[in-house]
Amino acid sequence: MSSLTLAVRDSATMLRRTVLHAWRYPSLTLNLLLTPIVLLLLFVYIFGDVMSAGIAGGHADRSAYIAYLVPGILLMTIGGTVVGAAVSVSMDMTEGIMARFRTMAIHRGSVLIGHVVGSVLRALVSVVLVGAVAVAIGFRSTDATALEWLAAFGLLALVAMALTWIAVGLGMVSPNAEAAGNNAMPLIVLPFVSSAFVPVDAMPGWFRPVAEYQPFTPAIETLRGLLLGSEIGGDGWLAVGWCLGLAALGYRWSTSLFSRDPR
């Protein structure tokens, strides 16, 4: 068997295992879904009138704010599900079965690839569910073509993949599940200090670089452009660049951690 077929076959087996775990124990996935949905409802129905004053020069209404908010919430959903990946990787690494996998003639990276692909699938399912809630409360895209929808979905998958590789590394350096959850916290906090809730222009000047030079802002702006027809400009390439960079970094980090002697 060539090493590529071996990699694909073993990774598919490991993916089946990850999916089986998620299927048998859906509570982790559902818990992670709760946060973005609550935030969506909170910002629309409780803070909606105030928040809408901050965009479009104060002439926007609540439905305009829903449109502004949803792309950020969708990316936040990905950040949340990815934390779940960090937790399950760290739990998996402490299991005895990991020693068994390491002593079997299987593709070395398959355990991690199984986790990553499983996490991306979970993120996309979560995005669909949160998106359905958004549509139910009045979110509509502005003349997005099928191609733009496809690109939006592709972007979300790319972000999920990039963040998951980072989360897998975080999960592997963490001694236990709690530590993994804490270490992956920035993936939940970063969207708050991005353009998810308010435009970067509305933030204090000293803070703007934090919001501008991080992966979530260009990804959110790109998603807005695709779904709402706003200007994407350089944000598209910037978002893709961030994702590829983070994915490469996370992949190298995680696989080198995995090939070290276990504790």
């Binding site: 020693a99 299987i106 276990p262």
Partner: protein
């Protein structure tokens, strides 16, 4: 394959391993801790080899290294004819490992664990299902097959663990303390399983802290103590290393004990237990001469027992010096 027919299944020369060397601080931090200090082993094909030693002797480290889980610092190591350092993946294709801590996925069922192994061994679907079903049957897990492995008892988990190891029909099996923590019944059924494996031509590398287990199962035994092999040989060879065979006479009446002790003179006295020990190899001829001697001396013991040296004697004789160090740790 690069194997020659008479090459040992497992061969190690000069195996060294230390832990914690890299992280020791320069401000008087302890140096690396030597765990294995030059180990030589050779295990012929189709035999059971037992590595015996107290807790902390390094048994698990030997298994981890030989099963490619951790890398050795030094040593010429070959498993199944393949060099461990150069081609670990070829070694992995030949071995099966059941570690001290159960290597089953507790979140999925026993059957799903078995099918996972079948998939990872790239068995065709139908063959994988058949193998899984056969092994579940053989290890008495059919009833529990549809339940999550986390709900299994200790003995069931261990059986599932071994069953999973056998899915790929490995030629060399490492068992790290396979019966630790099992009740007597599960232990005996595990022994039966291990004997069955070897009758099929498999090589078994077994670690244990139970002398009885090594005596019962192993063709050859190595006593590991403090990172070195203290002795190696068959159970009988090891027993010959230490004196300890004797006939023991026990008395209930102190007066009878005293007169016997005076009459027999060159025996070892245990005044507290009112017993006398006469050195003996336990053979019938020697026993008869002892009995004749006792008769002629007019000694009538209340109880006579023959004690042949067992592995306990060997074990304590070989590892006794480190008792104190064990306590300090």
């Amino acid at each position: 394959m690069t194997t020659t027919p008479d090459a040992p299944a497992i061969a190690a020369r000069g195996l060294h391993k230390s832990y914690g060397g890299k992280h020791s601080g320069k401000d008087g931090g302890k140096g690396p801790k030597k765990v294995l200090d030059g180990i030589d082993l050779a295990v012929p094909r189709g035999t059971i080899f037992s590595l015996l030693g107290p807790n902390g002797a390094g048994k698990t480290t030997v298994v981890k290294i030989l099963s490619t889980l951790v890398t050795a610092d030094a040593g010429d190591l070959r498993v199944g004819g393949h060099d461990l350092a150069a081609d670990p993946q070829a070694v992995r294709a030949m071995i099966g490992v059941t570690g001290q801590f159960s290597a089953v996925d507790g979140l999925i069922t026993g059957e799903e664990n078995m099918l996972l192994m079948a998939d990872l061994h790239h068995l065709p679907r139908r063959e994988g299902r058949r193998t899984a079903a056969e092994l579940l049957e053989r290890f008495d897990l059919v009833e529990a097959a549809k339940k999550p492995a986390s709900t299994y008892s200790g003995g069931m988990r261990r059986r599932l663990d071994i069953a999973m190891t056998l899915v790929g029909a490995p030629r060399i099996i490492f068992l790290d303390e396979p019966t630790t923590g099992l009740d007597p019944r599960s232990r005996h059924s595990m022994w039966g399983i291990i004997r069955e494996l070897v009758s099929g031509g498999v090589t078994v590398f077994l670690t244990t802290q139970y002398l009885e287990e090594a005596d019962e199962l192993a063709d050859r035994i190595a006593v590991l103590n403090d990172g070195r092999i203290a002795a190696e040989g068959s159970a009988d060879e090891l027993k010959r290393l230490v004196p300890g065979g004797h006939v023991r006479l026990r008395f209930t009446d102190p007066a009878a004990y005293r007169s016997a002790a005076v009459a027999l003179r060159e025996v070892t006295r245990d005044d507290e237990a009112l017993s006398l020990q006469i050195p003996s190899d336990g053979s019938q001829r020697e026993l008869r001469s002892i009995l004749d001697w006792l008769d002629s001396a007019g000694v009538e013991a209340d109880e006579l027992t023959v004690h042949t040296p067992d592995l306990d004697d060997v074990f304590f004789a070989l590892t006794g010096g480190t008792d104190q160090r064990e306590d300090v740790r």
